[in-house]
Symmetry: C2
Subunit: 283 residues, 2 copies
Amino acid sequence: MEGYGRFLALLASALLVGFVSVILSLVWVFHYREGLSWDGSSAEFNWHPVLIVTGFVFIQGIAIIVYRLPWTWKCSKLLMKFIHAGLNTIAMILAIVAMVAAFDYHNARNIPNMYSLHSWIGLTAVIFYALQLFCGFAVFLLPFAPAHLRAAVMPIHAYSGLTIFATVIATSLMGITEKLIFGLSSPSYSESPPEATLVNCLGLLLVIFGSLILWMASRPYWKRPPEENAKILSPIGANPEGTEVESTMTNSSNADKADLRSNTEEARKQNIKFDEAGQRSTM
Amino acid sequence: MEGYGRFLALLASALLVGFVSVILSLVWVFHYREGLSWDGSSAEFNWHPVLIVTGFVFIQGIAIIVYRLPWTWKCSKLLMKFIHAGLNTIAMILAIVAMVAAFDYHNARNIPNMYSLHSWIGLTAVIFYALQLFCGFAVFLLPFAPAHLRAAVMPIHAYSGLTIFATVIATSLMGITEKLIFGLSSPSYSESPPEATLVNCLGLLLVIFGSLILWMASRPYWKRPPEENAKILSPIGANPEGTEVESTMTNSSNADKADLRSNTEEARKQNIKFDEAGQRSTM
């Protein structure tokens, strides 16, 4: 793998930043707030930030880059698809529980639901995330979609995955802003009490985590190698969709061909150069 | 151009959404707030949302996709670089004036500065944007940087441009949230007065605008054709960095070669296929 050390350093940074974010959300609710419970009180609301940071940001981020971990390249593509879909499903469930906690708390306190921009964009993100999961499952995991459909849907799937992820982080920042304004009084948010500083730092870490994931997910030389190298080595003028189908969208019936692949170093280099030129000139 | 109709439809949508966003920010400050002035009052603060939406979101978004407008492909690359840098400079100036308006207003009212997550991330975005402008100017516009340096910096320049743009939109959403919570009382934000609905819609439009720009900026088949096609047609195993330098980073001394290019349809198609494979398998 080209730049293996750099990849490991970035992965370690992303894991550290994501892990510290989860810890900070727990410190926030246990040290500065009422802890966690499920009784309609503020402690029920507190599940909302904890589960969003843990599930909808951290686990979703890991799901995005899971194909790029070099030690998974010897696993079959189908297994990796299950892990990718599984992590996203866990993130989805945690996001829904987080949403229910917020609604429950609002209802118990007679606070209106769905009036804020945070709630509008947050609910939209959850709906799009569910659609993304459903379409991903139907097109890439089930064995029915033809290769040309997979090839057509793949760029949309990748684009919407990253866009939803960025939108989820933006929504978290709005949520943090709301909670600090409503939750802090004597001293208020504008007086910068330690809680405000801690949670602002949590917001900054979420942005850094998102930036690291987006960088790792968009580098061509850290992409999982294709299942078969033969097509990669075809001339530049040949239809690259075959390449694409093999490299990122191998369907389940092809997945068990994984052991057949001959991952020569030369083929990898060819593939990297091919991707690199396309990616550099596009991004 | 492949998918010319689709490109035009998306461009028209982005322009419409961006234009309506600017109008909504003006309706907000003139119809629901105190209008615009420069006297330390709330009307001075109102420059902040108007200039951020107009400059830091709308103009920056246009600057990102300006190379992709097909009717500019006959213009020299150097001219397009000046337009790209010029639009970004205008956006930068408007963002700084917007920031000064907010600080002035805070100081006149004895409201603390720099306590909120909005201000932390907003200031960070402005600093990174200034660095991005400076580095872009030094590396891509001035004729001193060698080709290999341009090739090395280009992916970072493109990545950080898009990441800063997304961060600016996220920061705007936090700013909208803050202003609606602090600015609305009897009826409050949670009672959903018309102003809250209007400004929530503005926030939604900013997310849609950002998503459209990111889609258009990351499609390989809408990329400006390279200045010289010879290098594109070199075999796949050849170093693609030359391709990249020609296709997106032609330096100023090369820019005047533009008239020499022979944009045959065949060469264009080769280039599109080349990019497409790299991009699809990466994004």
